[in-house]
Amino acid sequence: MSTTQKQDAMKRIEAELKKCVKCGACRAHCPAFTAFQREPAVARGKVALAQHILKGNITLDNETYSAMSKCLLCGSCVDKCPNDVPTDEIVIAAREALAKQRGLTTFHKAVGQVIKNRKVMNMGAFAGAILGPLFFRKVPATSGLRARFPLPFVGAARHFPQIAKKPFMDRHPEIIHGEPGKPRVLFFVGCMTNFVYTEIGEAALALFRHLGCTVIIPKGQQCCGLPAMSGGDLDTVRQLAEENLKALEAHEADYIMTGCATCGGALHKLYPQVVGKRNPELAARLKAVADKTVDAAVLLQKLGLKPEETGAADPLKVTYHDPCHHRTAGIAKQPRALLKGTSGVELVEMEGADKCCGLGGTFNVYHYESSMKINAGKSAAIRATGADAVVTGCPGCIMQLSDGLKQAGDATKVLHTLQILARKIAKEK
């Protein structure tokens, strides 16, 4: 591959790089900077490095790779940048250029291979559900698992969620008919909900059926591709975007609903931004999907869910964590409004609710310690509220928050907004 081709990704963001005036405002908001306390870890530093890659002063070597890997793609720098520098796009482009130059890491290669194919994932999940207990032991008093043997990439203390015995999508038909005249909702399930936290999928289904909606779970849907993007594997992202497009276009629907902030972010923002910009033929179709995509909680509110009818009366004090992919999409008030209206639920705010939990896709794998350093602040904020449960809208955050709390020996429950909202109707079922 020629140097020009390798640099293509960087060329695309050349104009964006000029917007950065190195004021340093990103230092105040960047979770990676909080953890590393070094300038290459902050947005301003990454922009400077990208500028120097284009000038030819530095190459796509280990040091550049190391700096670019220190980003959670949380978008907080983008939110707060006085000059609207899209550092997330810049980091994605740099990671793509790095991957093209150096090849994907073994881990990211594996990620790409797995997420590219739901059949492989199904098999993996089956194997995980069966073999998991052999490799992991249950930790007393918690629902998580802890590795029996040291594993590469991960610390011994780390907690893993259990894989479901049967994936969510295998439990339900493709179309679940609702009442005539009620909205038709396409459910983009997402891998975590399908294979791990199936209860979130069940909650979503129960709630939309409660509203009389027809729920369609397109069989052809795949992973959204975000884990691949995290490693710079944009080819996989593009392939998955196209397959998802086909699967979602196969059905007539009013909305595309997702219970995962990350999947929502992919469909709503990243597909048009990362895939659409480079493939004008797909751009209009991706935009149509993006326009229809809506977060489950936002849609429930829009469709007039009365939480006081759906919530259970058992008193529960909860605090809410804003997933990054919600924050960047302006979703914050809607889930809180629903939670506040749910009978028996008391919502208390934590300090820094909109700060990243530290997961950041594969950041958590390569920089586990730093990821947990970021998470430590979150755990402390959650604990300070005295809540029984921390509630959020992203299964990825749920995994990270659970790991942090369990390691701190904290019994605070970690739940999805939909699980709280569906408590009563789930019981009635």
Binding site: K18, K19, V21, K22, C23, G24, A25, C26, R27, A28, Q37, R38, E39, P40, R44, G45, A48, L49, H52, N57, I58, E63, T64, S66, A67, P82, N83, D84
Partner: protein, 460 residues
């Protein structure tokens, strides 16, 4: 260039993990908010004053320059490693050591972020007023070294007015303490004040004792739009003549008003020629009374719009007008030179008129806003660097702007300092004897000229 042996000695002082030499690291510590860039030979992150002292001693022995750096958010290149050497970063030294509620003082390390400190003291009902625009990310050490200001300076003063004492590693490596914890103290020269605003040329600040105040009971925010710049300026002096010292008197000129309004639609009348954001703080009843008095005082001066915030949210809304200035400027031109001249309060309209003339002469847009209460105006010369000749024009205009401020009895910098960018203009403001006196101080303290060399004073 630092040879391997010296690098090993540096590593022996701070540990391998705290020394970086990859080009990537050097790039990331070679810039600040000026758009200038110089690569150091190494980046060093010491963890305590003893390590700083050892590094400085080594620099004297081996003859390499040391460039102290906080958050690197300066506007004049004060922390840039021009000529190479080591960048000494203070961010690891970031502890609030103690807050003494009996004596209303606090001791902090230089790497503490200003806002972090403010939040800490506010939890105890205390107040640290200096509030540079960069307070969310700039460090207290950097604030002291540059003597940062901010909107509250009109009532409370600037950083140096809150620094009671310092621990400084001198350019020869000795650690000294200046000032102290007492309000009074007149023994010897006032080295504390000398260090404040010395831009890292006279030593490295390793500990700071700051004065605190009780947190004001309440505050009240108002916004007034005037039909003339003179009206706004007279409003400033009228309020102060009326024996009210507001916490803040922020000013936007017509060009700024139009910029903000077109981009963000905040309901400002475009026919307005100037905006004042006024805030008073203190006793709840008193500020209500003062807000009424202010309105009465300024209304006859051509006010076309007056808003008073009744709630914290409304106050935030009014502050947005000021906060959104920077993000909206890019609509004028992509690049800016941000200068921070000061003139006596009453001379603000004169300097604005002079700047308008400069703008017309050079045909480049100039947008002015800033702290009218203390006459500190941010003059933003907006250019497009990609267009030929614009940058040169800007430099000529900048010189004339400085001259205009000086002619009116002002100064060429209120809070950004001199650094590299204003260094060539220093002789406009300081005469030969003044510069010679400053050079004598520098030579006496830094005989080998290793401490942030080549900054502030014009090259000999």
């Amino acid at each position: 260039m630092l040879d391997r042996q010296i690098l090993e000695k540096i590593k022996a002082i701070v540990g391998d993990d705290n020394v970086a030499t990859s080009t990537q690291d050097l790039i990331c510590y070679g810039y600040d908010a000026t758009q200038m860039e110089f690569l150091p030979d190494a980046v060093v992150h010491p963890g305590c004053s003893d390590e700083v002292a050892s590094l400085v001693k080594l620099a004297n022995q081996e003859g390499f320059p040391v460039f102290p750096r906080g958050a690197g958010s300066g506007f004049t290149g004060g922390a840039l490693p021009k000529g190479g050497g080591i960048v000494l970063v203070t961010t690891r030294m970031n502890k609030v050591v103690r807050i003494d509620t009996d004596n209303l003082i606090a001791e902090v390390e230089p790497g503490v972020v200003t806002e972090t400190f403010q939040i800490e003291v506010e939890k105890l009902g205390l107040f640290y007023p200096p509030d540079p625009a960069s307070l969310k990310f700039s460090t207290l050490g950097g604030n002291v070294a540059e003597c940062a200001g901010g909107p509250r300076a009109v009532k409370y003063g600037v950083t140096k007015d809150f620094v009671m004492g310092l621990e400084v590693v001198l350019p020869t490596g000795e650690i000294i303490r200046t000032g102290g914890e007492t309000v009074k103290g007149v023994v010897g020269y006032d080295l504390t004040k000398l260090m404040c605003g010395s831009e890292g040329t006279l030593g490295i600040i390793t500990s700071i004792i700051l004065r605190l105040l009780p947190y004001p009971d309440a505050k009240k925010t108002m916004l007034a739009v005037f039909d003339s710049i003179d009206g706004a300026a007279r409003a400033v002096s009228t309020i102060i003549k009326g024996k009210i010292i507001p916490t803040t008197l922020e000013f936007l000129d017509h060009a700024t008003l139009v910029c903000v309004e077109r981009r963000f639609k905040l309901g400002l009348p475009e026919e307005g020629r100037a905006v004042l954001l006024i805030e008073v703080d203190g006793d709840r009843d008193l500020i209500e009374k003062q807000a009424g008095q202010i309105r009465e005082l300024i209304e006859p001066l051509g006010v076309v719009q007056f808003r008073v915030a009744q709630t914290a949210a409304e106050s935030d809304e009014l502050w947005r007008v000021r906060r959104l200035v920077s993000p909206s400027l890019r609509d004028v031109n992509p690049d800016k030179f941000n200068e921070d001249i000061v003139v006596p309060r009453s001379k603000v309209p004169d300097v604005i008129r002079k700047i308008e003339a400069i703008q017309n002469r050079y045909d480049i847009p100039i947008v002015n806003f800033g702290h009218a209460g203390d006459g500190n105006i941010h003059v933003n010369i907006m250019v497009d660097r990609s267009k030929e000749g614009q940058e040169e024009k800007a430099h000529l205009a900048i010189k004339e702007v400085f001259q205009a401020a000086l002619d009116l009895g002002g100064t060429m910098s209120g809070e950004h300092g001199v650094g590299l960018s204003k260094q060539p203009f220093l002789p406009l403001e300081l005469n030969t004897a003044q510069i010679a006196a400053m050079r004598a101080i520098k030579r006496a303290l830094d005989p080998k000229n290793i401490m942030n060399p080549g900054k502030m004073l014009p090259l000999e």
